[in-house]
Amino acid sequence: MNGHPIREEDFDLLALGALDADERRELEAHVASCAACAAKLAEARGRIALLAAAAPPAAPSAAVKQRLMQQVRAEARPARAAREKETSPSLFGKWWFAVLAPAGAVLAIATILLWNENRKLDRELADLHASVQQQEQQLHEAREVADLITSSDTVTVALSPQPGMPKGTAHVMYNMKMGMLMYEGVMTPPAAEKSYQLWIMPAQGKPISAGVFNPVSGQSDHWMMKMPQGIEPKAFTITLEPSGGMPQPTGPMVMMGSPS
């Protein structure tokens, strides 16, 4: 391609990854040497990135953040030590180095012992810090649950098993003023390659995913999430979907309940 693309939407198709290899290479080669088209591609990438909105909401577990922060601290320690080493003045080449060397060796051993002790304390401190953060998060979540449960505006919906479907108990509590929704239930584990998915069925419009879950036998699942704005739930359903969930319900309805 020697000139600009004939069609503006080619940038969006490139950002989407839909162009076949030859078309992609040709357009990429042009963009690499054309600032105007590079700017258009940057805008197209931004537009296409927004398609993330079509994904059902899925919050990561708290353990990911903990692991990340531990990884960051583990990386920071050697780097900090290296910086300190670089800034310390060199003793080599000084006449009095030989005189002070034996004392220095003793000092070095003591330093190593202290350093080891310090590392141990550092690790303990990092663990304590992570534990405090986790507890703060749990406390925050507990407060939200308490607020939701005790509010007079909260609506509780019991979900009933549908005929011929796996048994379980489940209910949803939601509060339009707080904009919060909580699910709690004990369900029979789904078959392999399957997940359960909770849906908000609005009075108008398509079902909205409110969580994908894979229960462990005998254990309860519960989570809180923000209610989509302006949505008045007509009912809540749980369907059986391919593992990981779907953008819209495709599988059989396992549980259902409506606000009274």
């Binding site: 939407e9 839909a18 990135a49 993330a52 994904a55 059902p56 353990a63 960051v72």
Partner: protein, 188 residues
């Protein structure tokens, strides 16, 4: 939320990046809190594997920690880069090929049409974009989602759906054109 956490929540992405460059762990935690949910949704939708999605999520934020000094806000949006990188990594894992070029923070050239640094703005964005997608003709939306969430090209979509290649190309072309026009309307 503590007052410190409240202040973090109001800090701009660029301000938080500057603090990360100074090795401020709280700034990284704040950026994680801001975008982990959005990225996690995309990663889980593409991979349908929570463990793999969480591994990539952690990798992305660790990369941000290590290479924050290369970020240049004048070249593109951090939120946009995060969303592009999450999708690219997940598609690479799904299709078992190496990540595409342009994954370094210093190569960030993603121009997001709006600021989504607050929780409220993210929710508003998701609602608007969902609305735009739901208004696309179903066959156009399906073709776009196959490309976006499964990383399929024109030819691969035609092979997957059994539709003629020309039909798939027309659907995708019309779909992204309508998407572009309607996104401009709802973002203005």
């Amino acid at each position: 939320m503590s007052s410190d956490a409240g202040a973090e929540a109001k800090a701009s992405d660029t301000g938080l990046i500057e603090r990360i460059v100074q090795r401020d762990e709280a700034a990284l935690a704040a950026l994680y809190d801001r975008y982990a949910g959005l990225l996690s949704s995309v990663l889980n939708r593409i991979l349908r594997d929570t463990q793999a999605a969480e591994e990539i999520l952690q990798d992305i934020f660790f990369q941000l920690w290590r290479t924050a000094s290369r970020f240049d806000a004048s070249r593109g949006s951090l939120a946009g880069w995060l969303m592009v990188i999450a999708r690219n990594r997940a598609i690479s894992r799904l299709r078992r090929h190496n990540p595409a070029a342009g994954e370094e923070l210093g190569e960030n050239t993603v121009a997001l049409p709006l600021n989504i640094e607050s929780d409220v703005s993210q929710r508003q964005l998701l609602d608007r974009v969902k609305g735009v997608l739901e208004n696309l003709p179903p066959e156009q939306r399906a073709a776009i989602e196959l490309a976006y969430f499964e990383g399929l090209t024109h030819s691969e979509i035609a092979e997957r759906t059994g539709d003629p290649l020309g039909t798939v190309k027309t659907r995708l072309r019309n779909g992204v054109e309508t998407l572009k026009r309607n996104l401009r309307l709802v973002m203005s």
